[in-house]
């Protein structure tokens, strides 16, 4: 116990890492459920429905399937790189989430008042881009080491796409940096506090709307998602760079892709959508009950669904989920928890909105051909990001120019 | 201040530079030789940053920035040249491209 008292920062960091890992793995697993359900409902069908109540145990079933599948290794492949590539992809994708703050400095763990972030780095944004730019290696090495034409072509195409859109990604963020003047994530969020006319939040999506559009488009291309997913589209290249991967390594590539999606959405909420800030004015303190109220409403709906629609084991499973939701709702009503849960609740809500947008574009838009993709990235997106940067720079420096001359 | 003495960093920079020279002299593949050049540049960067910290000046860091930028430009052109040579001579062995006449 004195170890905890002597090194509060270290123990607090370990606790935060464990909590983040647990929550992250759950989110990654259920993101696949979320995606399949939404794509299915857009296509007028139900999606996973039978495995658990409303298909909620589908990720568990998929995980068990991946664990028990036969693990093939292509005979002439480069064994070291073949095993290294998915680990690299997953590790880099999950490392970026250590830099992202989920809430303000309201929590004190073991007497150490802390933001809800694992690592509060002064140049957090720059480091996040550094780790993202290393993510190209996972894809390139996977394509190379599989010793197959489909994989090599898919890997090269995919990594060329990633490095092309990385430039636009970085440039579209610099506008926000010019307005905020700092790389630190916490300060980037707190500089978006305040309201225009007392009720429109001062988020950076207003001044930087073009930047947001460029950023999100570049992000969809960077994470190899539709409509930019030619390198891994099944109809075009069999499987792209993960053709020769099976069972757990394949699952790792999938988890890496979802983790990249989550990272990019988190970054978009912090930079453009105000992070953990609430969109409602501070005077409306009754809005603090919103997390609890929404969870309890969900519990009521699930209770109705359990009683009326479900039969058999599904009824029992959904009852369990209802009790969980109700329990969480009541937990949010506790006076100790309520101020703490506000930041993460709004952060998760905005992130969920962006993830929904990701899945929506996947199920709606057709796939871009590779040359269309590259010409879009270099000939349209890059000039637009540069234009956004120049206009923001002019806006920032205009008062100084006027003062001078 | 329990910081690491700067001379440790200088010795590490010397070791890396020496290993870069060894790789440059003993390898056959053009691309590996080019990578040895990048290793030498990195070792020099480390020495610059160490000295910048030792004298508490920022000029060393600015110089590192310029070295990285120039290395990027040089890699782009150098690798384009290597691609052209490989297409013309069909070999990446440096002992087979040692004559100006094809």
């Amino acid at each position: 116990m004195e170890f905890i008292a002597q090194h509060p920062v270290l123990v607090a960091s370990l606790v935060k890492i464990v909590v983040l890992l647990v929550i992250l793995m759950t989110i990654l697993a259920y993101l696949s459920w979320f995606e399949r359900k939404i794509i299915a409902h857009i296509q007028s069908r139900w999606g996973p429905y039978y495995v658990g109540a409303h298909g909620l145990l589908q990720p568990l079933a998929d995980g068990i399937k991946f664990l028990f599948k036969e693990d093939l290794t292509p005979p002439a492949s480069d064994k070291l790189l073949y095993i290294l590539a998915p680990f690299l992809a997953l590790t880099l994708a999950m490392t970026t989430l250590a830099l992202i703050p989920f809430g303000p400095a309201t929590v004190s763990i073991f007497g150490h008042q802390t933001h809800l972030v694992v690592a509060n780095v002064d140049i957090g944004l720059l480091f996040l881009f550094a780790i993202t730019s290393l993510g190209v290696y996972g894809v390139a090495l996977a394509g190379w080491s599989s010793n197959s034409k489909y994989s090599l072509l898919g890997g090269l195409r995919s990594s060329a796409q990633m490095i092309s859109y990385e430039v636009s990604l970085t440039l579209s963020v610099v506008g926000v940096l010019l307005l905020a003047g700092t790389f630190n994530f916490n300060e980037l969020v707190t500089s978006q506090q305040g309201y225009y006319f007392h009720f429109i939040p001062r988020w950076r999506i207003g001044p930087q709307f073009i930047g947001f559009l460029c950023y999100f488009t570049a992000a969809i291309a960077e994470t190899n998602r539709a409509p930019f997913d030619l390198p891994e589209g099944e109809q075009e290249l069999v499987g792209g760079f993960h053709t020769e991967y099976s069972s757990f390594k394949f699952a790792m590539f999938f988890m890496a892709e979802y983790a990249n999606m989550v990272t990019v959405s988190c970054l978009a909420t912090i930079l453009f959508l105000g992070g953990w800030l609430s969109p409602f004015p501070e005077r409306w303190t009754f809005m603090q009950y919103l997390p609890a109220v929404s969870l309890l409403a969900l519990a009521v709906y699930l209770a109705y669904d359990t009683a009326v629609n479900m039969r058999g084991i599904a009824r029992f499973q959904l009852a369990v989920v209802t009790v969980l939701a109700g329990g969480l709702g009541f937990l949010c009503l506790l006076p100790g928890v309520m101020p703490v849960i506000q930041g993460p609740f709004w952060f998760t809500f905005k992130m969920g909105l962006l993830l929904f947008f990701y899945v929506w574009t996947r199920s709606t838009l057709p796939r871009l051909r590779y040359d269309q993709l590259m010409s879009f990235g270099w000939k349209l997106l890059l000039p637009v990001s540069l234009l956004n940067l120049v206009m923001t720079a002019l806006y920032v420096i205009f008062p100084l120019l006027v003062k001078r001359g | 201040m329990s910081a690491v003495p700067i001379s440790y960093y200088l010795v590490l920079s010397a070791i890396l530079f020496g290993l870069g020279v060894v790789a440059f002299v003993f390898k056959h593949n053009i691309i590996t030789i080019y990578m040895a050049i990048e290793l030498m540049l990195n070792a020099v960067n480390l020495a610059f940053v160490a000295f910048a910290r030792a004298h508490n000046q920022l000029d060393g860091l600015v110089f590192v920035f310029f070295v990285i930028v120039v290395a990027a430009a040089e890699s782009a052109v150098g690798l384009a040249i290597i691609l052209t040579i490989a297409q013309n001579r069909q070999s990446l062995n440096v002992e087979r491209v040692n004559q100006l006449k094809f």
């Binding site: 790189l81 002064d122 140049i123 720059l126 881009f129 550094a130 780790i131 730019s133 290393l134 190209v136 290696y137 390139a140 190379w144 090599l152 090269l156 990594s159 | 329990s2 910081a3 690491v4 003495p5 700067i6 001379s7 200088l10 590490l12 070791i15 890396l16 020496g18 290993l19 003993f26 056959h28 593949n29 691309i31 590996t32 990578m35 990048e38 290793l39 990195n42 940053v49 000295f51 910048a52 910290r53 030792a54 004298h55 508490n56 920022l58 860091l61 600015v62 310029f66 990285i68 930028v69 120039v70 990027a72 430009a73 782009a76 052109v77 690798l79 384009a80 040249i81 052209t84 062995n93």
Partner: protein, 169 residues
């Protein structure tokens, strides 16, 4: 053995191991990966020296762009296996010990010289990290001309690479 020392030796170990792997590896792609390991270890050492911005630029530009270029070229050219030459007896039994001895000698005399002692003290060094704002002020005020000149240099490099890599039509 305080934490900075342990971190220094860990990352220095990775850097030297990466450099040795660069020499010893049989395939160019393994050498490229070893060089990436060296660069990431060096970025960590820059962080230890307090240069945060330089560490991030090293990873973004060097390890994340230049080495990606190297890996692409190796994959495109399908650079084969390095031929293994047996080192001559002279190199193995005389060269290697002499090299190690030279290294020890250099370290000894560097540490004992006046410059070495003053650097080892690090008495002028503060422990604070260099802020990006200070670095950028120096970059845009004192070194503005080299900055603009390097941007022209990059433009020339892009044009050169485009012309060289273009197929004759």
């Amino acid at each position: 053995m305080s934490l900075p020392f342990i971190l220094f030796f860990v990352f220095a170990f990775f850097a030297v191991v990466g450099a040795i792997l660069l020499i010893v590896a049989r395939e160019p792609i393994h050498s490229a990966l070893a060089l990436i390991m060296v660069m990431v270890a060096l970025a960590a050492l820059y962080l230890l020296l307090g240069a945060e911005f330089v560490a991030a630029v090293q990873i973004i530009v060097y390890a994340g762009a230049i080495m990606v270029l190297f890996v692409f070229v190796i994959m495109l050219l399908n650079a084969g296996v390095e031929e293994r030459t047996n080192w001559s007896k002279l190199a193995k039994y005389a060269g290697l010990p002499l090299g190690v001895f030279l290294l020890f000698e250099l370290t000894h005399w560097i540490a004992r010289s006046a410059v070495g002692k003053s650097i080892a003290n690090g008495s002028e060094a503060t422990n604070a990290a260099v802020s990006t704002r200070a670095l950028s002020e120096m970059l845009f005020r004192k070194y503005l001309f080299p900055f603009e000149a390097t941007s022209i240099l990059i433009l020339i490099a892009i044009l050169g690479a485009l012309v060289l890599a273009k197929r004759d039509e």
